[in-house]
Point group: C2
């Protein structure tokens, strides 16, 4: 058990129809004019946006609309949001959407109080202040609703980097599982891939730590596997969507990493290059990278893989668990090879160089030289 600090101040309001309290929550929090950040079609199409505008106006809260956030949110769009937030003098950010919308909302909340460009906070500087962030989640996957992280893609430089700060934990996150009924099948599958990915990075790479955290991770993985099996068949199964939603939140809210040390996120490091370069869904990139990384990493670190095989799939041996995980991905129709996502094997060296740059920033550049990343990617061909 290693030393740690744990502080997660986000208040989660979870349940059917809970988005209706957003106006009252904002008013109670002292907000009077919010930047309402959202994505493209679905928030409008489902009527959610209009309902949210209604809840705000009922509570005399002005809303400045800022739509058009894309999956794998991009810097240029976030910068425009910062400009609007500053010009309009909003006093809070309300993000309505999935992890991409939340992450861009966090970027804007930081930028609105900063005098310098937000990309600096994705490349080393730690923001000390941000506007209060409120969220209504419509896609469970990234955990952004209950953590202090935002991931942004600089589309000019093809860099996808995270910003981390205690200033960007959402004040309130509203989680209504019903809002995830309309997530299309492919994104529902990627969400399941993503939630599992968040917990297994630490599980496999840590230096040690309490068995309790292994068990929490295994509990979350089992919940994701059991519930995704149900909601892929019945998209509007409330209990399955709900248990999944909470499991995905807990997968990356800091809990599973308390007391562990030395962990890293090599699969995210490599995947961020895939989604930055080819703009594929983050979950789709992960289901390609993870089995390859596992085959490579388990050669030198077999121990935890034996536990994983046994606890998650009830099978024995290092390779059997990896195979079973790959089968689970295939069952979700998630890609498991570069070719499945039309990524040419000829690009491997270029991808590896891009990922290595991320690795250097994350302090794992020595552990993952370009040659090692290329070797991992070649296991995904």
């Amino acid at each position: 058990m290693f030393d740690f600090e744990f502080h997660n101040p986000t208040r989660v309001i979870f349940g059917r129809g809970k988005e209706s309290v957003i106006g009252a929550e904002l008013r109670q929090g002292g907000a009077s004019k919010v930047l309402l950040v959202y994505g493209s079609g679905s928030t409008k199409r489902t009527g959610l946006l209009d309902r949210v505008l209604g809840y705000l106006s009922e509570n005399s809260i002005q809303a400045v609309q800022f739509g058009g956030v894309v999956s794998n949110p991009v810097l240029s769009h976030a910068r425009r949001g910062v400009e609007i937030a500053k010009n309009e003098k909003v006093d809070a950010v309300l993000a309505v959407g999935g992890g991409s919308v939340l992450d861009e909302g966090k970027a804007i909340a930081v930028g609105a109080l900063a005098s310098d460009d937000i990309w600096g906070y994705y490349t080393g500087k730690v923001p000390e202040a941000a506007l209060p962030i409120y969220a209504i989640l419509t896609l469970a996957a990234t955990g952004s609703e209950m953590n202090g992280t935002s991931v942004m893609t600089n589309e000019e430089t093809k860099q996808k980097y995270p910003m981390k700060s205690s200033a960007i934990y959402p004040t309130v996150s509203i989680l209504n599982p019903e809002l995830t009924y309309t997530v299309p099948p492919d994104y529902s599958a990627y969400a399941a891939v993503d939630a599992v990915a968040h917990v297994i990075e630490g599980y496999f790479t840590k230096d040690g730590g309490p068995v309790l955290q292994d068990r929490f991770v295994e509990s979350i993985i089992k919940a994701v596997m059991e519930t995704s099996r149900i909601f892929m068949e019945e998209p509007d199964n409330y209990d399955a969507r709900a248990e999944f939603m909470w499991a995905a939140t807990l997968a990356l809210n800091g809990l599973t990493l308390t007391g562990v040390k030395g962990f890293s996120f090599p699969n995210h490091m490599i995947e961020h290059s895939l989604s930055a370069i080819y703009n594929i869904a983050h979950g789709a990139g992960l289901s390609i990278v993870i089995p390859a990384w596992m085959k490579w990493y388990s050669r030198s670190h077999p121990r935890q893989f034996e536990r994983f095989s046994q606890e998650i799939f009830g099978v024995s041996g290092v390779g059997a668990g990896i195979e079973a995980l790959e089968s689970w991905y295939r069952g979700l129709h998630a890609p498991v090879r570069l070719g499945d996502a039309d990524i040419p094997a000829a690009d491997i060296d270029m991808i590896a160089a891009n990922a290595h740059d991320t690795g250097v920033r994350w302090g794992i550049g020595d552990e993952y030289p370009v040659s090692a990343i290329a070797e991992i990617l070649s296991l995904a061909t």
Copy 2:
């Protein structure tokens, strides 16, 4: 999965020697004069009190000492603390000790800002404000370090009741497992009993909810059982004390009850009467009550007991798990019958009447009439 709100703002600082940051934390939090609440002998004997006074003076924080908190803290003493806190105009409470010291610290923090008597907050009123509460934990068991609950005994009326409020979550709790090395064997054992008790109340009595929460509970129980086996033999085994300490905190910080509904705390209801009337350790009362309650409750609610037997002990059937739990208590030398704690069977009706009063307050008076509680207690003879 039922609707819930989750908000736990306590910052936990966990690790070796971490109590040394208390002065800096208080200063950063704006405190200049604290009421330093502690128990009786051990905090002084181990030198911890002097060290803490040093950390405070290094940071120019004045300390008003208030010792003498007893196990099962009593109202008269807490009232004296409130008086001192008001007279001395302290701006924060620093509790150094176990759950009893923390609970009394919370009572004083509320009383210091209230114009009325604190017992009112244990009998219905919800406090809206309290002084900031800081804690250095020396005994892991009650979970008070990361929740908004305080339990107090009114020694005149023999009532032991809880106060719950979002205002009494500690601002910072420092958890250094080394400080628990000197906990005597009997209290180390009761701590293990208590931590398990906190999670199994909800596990068995809830109406339903996600399997994820069952798995979290089972993870915590396994951690407690595995680590207590080690630290009962080796009191200064850091990893065992540490994993236990964090498991005990997570056992009652709200996490295991998210998304579940209809749960109640019948074992705590009955035990509070035992410790209020006979002043036995809370954990000792629980190891007497729980097997008896399980025998009674499992007759009408066998389902979860079958799961419990299988998951925790790898045995089959309802009764086998209860027997195995009782054996675990015996192995810890915890009492499992009223007679083991010199509580006369002739008192059963009187105890049952006292516990029923608590049950009425907790909204489970109908489910637990005096006759049912007496029947449960008779199973502990």
